[in-house]
Symmetry: C2
Subunit: 211 residues, 2 copies
DNA sequence: AAAAGAGCATACCGTTCTGTCTATTTTTCT
DNA sequence: AGAAAAATAGACAGAACGGTATGCTCTTTT
């Protein structure tokens, strides 16, 4: 069973899962990167547009030229963060060869890389829902769209490994992924990725071994 | 294996896991309940003290008489929310008779009750860390103290069932619990408690069945 | 009943918030 | 090179923020 290809040196892959450190040559890009960084460090509501503007080195008028309101900036940042994360995550997974079960387990190795990064501050979508739970259904919808990619990928691999109920497998793995993210964030302990992997292995084995 | 005692009628047990709906006969109590409600609905930073005061039906001077600052109010609410939740949760567990494995699995039934409540907005500690990650180490410490009760309980039951590494069992179950909370909150789907329970069962069985 | 304590209504303070506007400068395009 | 587009610096508006203060009312204690 193939193990994950070794992670590249940190200097090269650091933070590709987020736009916060993305090089940006346009004012719009600089605003997005600054906002992404500040939102994840300080929270959405507690980050003012002045702080974004100062970090981005732009004028406030420029920010409002590109984004009609702070809420739209938040929405744009979440979309971009989701896209960047998925690009990184599924790109990492593409390098994994092997049977579906191995690939499903590799998910947790990749999560472990993410958690080990000192710029890991949890999942922006989980954090946004935590902060905005009753307010903004648009954020929940954005989060669901983001998660749908992951659920689809998980379901496809569960189908490929012949699981009797692929949707249930995907749901179970979602619990493990969410749990690993939150536990790692709360305790600042990337080791929870390995914990979640062990649980996933036990679970997936139980699907292929007669009880 | 004993199943959980049936949940009492909703009118009787609703929201005992939170101070948000607790009857309060003092101004201090009303302030705490109002703050708890507003913080979990709208987020900490986005809830102003004026809103707390309006909901509590008190004067602002009264709020500042009881709490030196908004931060102290937040801290007091989190402490009280933790205490209330633990009282409810471990009280619920006390009603569960049976071997340690059954009691560990009952955790997820109780979580399912919590998730099914229409006032379920996730775990205040997870939400607070999501919002304040880099700012306030006091909140992280409060969250850790809260979680320590749970981890201790889980570890004790893992010891009692003869698990070779009880700490690892507790860690694994923490992943499942955190994951269930976040997945249920994100998707507004209490069914994730059952998913997590099935995973926990598979995992615990694997500890007691020779591989 | 009177005193003490708790709480209220209201106004205020300085700061910060999101968003708007103008004149000017810089950058890009032709 | 010149025009157009993009961006900047800076000022402004009204509202909201956390927190302070005062005079008065209500509640509890003695």
């Amino acid at each position: 069973m193939n193990e994950l290809a070794p992670a590249r040196p940190k200097a090269e892959h650091c933070e590709r899962w987020s736009i916060a450190a993305a090089p940006a040559d346009t004012a719009r890009g600089r605003i997005m990167a600054a906002a992404a960084h500040l939102f994840c460090h300080h929270g959405f509501a507690a980050t003012g547009v002045d702080a974004v503007v100062a970090r981005a080195g732009t004028a406030k008028a420029t920010l409002y030229k590109h984004f009609p309101s702070k809420d739209e900036l938040i929405a744009a940042v979440l979309e971009a963060e989701g896209a960047a994360w998925r690009t990184w995550f599924f790109g990492r997974l593409r390098a994994v060869q092997g049977p579906p079960q191995a690939r499903l387990l590799a998910v947790f190795d990749i999560l472990g890389e993410w958690f080990a990064d000192d710029q890991f501050y949890g999942c922006p979508f989980i954090n946004a829902i935590a902060e905005f739970d009753t307010g903004d259904s648009a954020i929940r919808e954005t989060a669901m769209r983001h998660k749908t990619h992951l659920v689809t990928w998980l379901t496809a691999h569960a189908i490929e490994m012949g699981a009797p109920d692929p949707k249930a497998v995907a749901r179970a793995l979602v619990v493990l992924i969410d749990g690993a993210i939150v536990a790692a964030q709360g305790a600042r302990d990337p080791g929870f990725a390995a914990e979640a992997k062990a649980l996933a292995r036990t679970y997936l084995d139980s699907l292929t071994i007669p009880a």
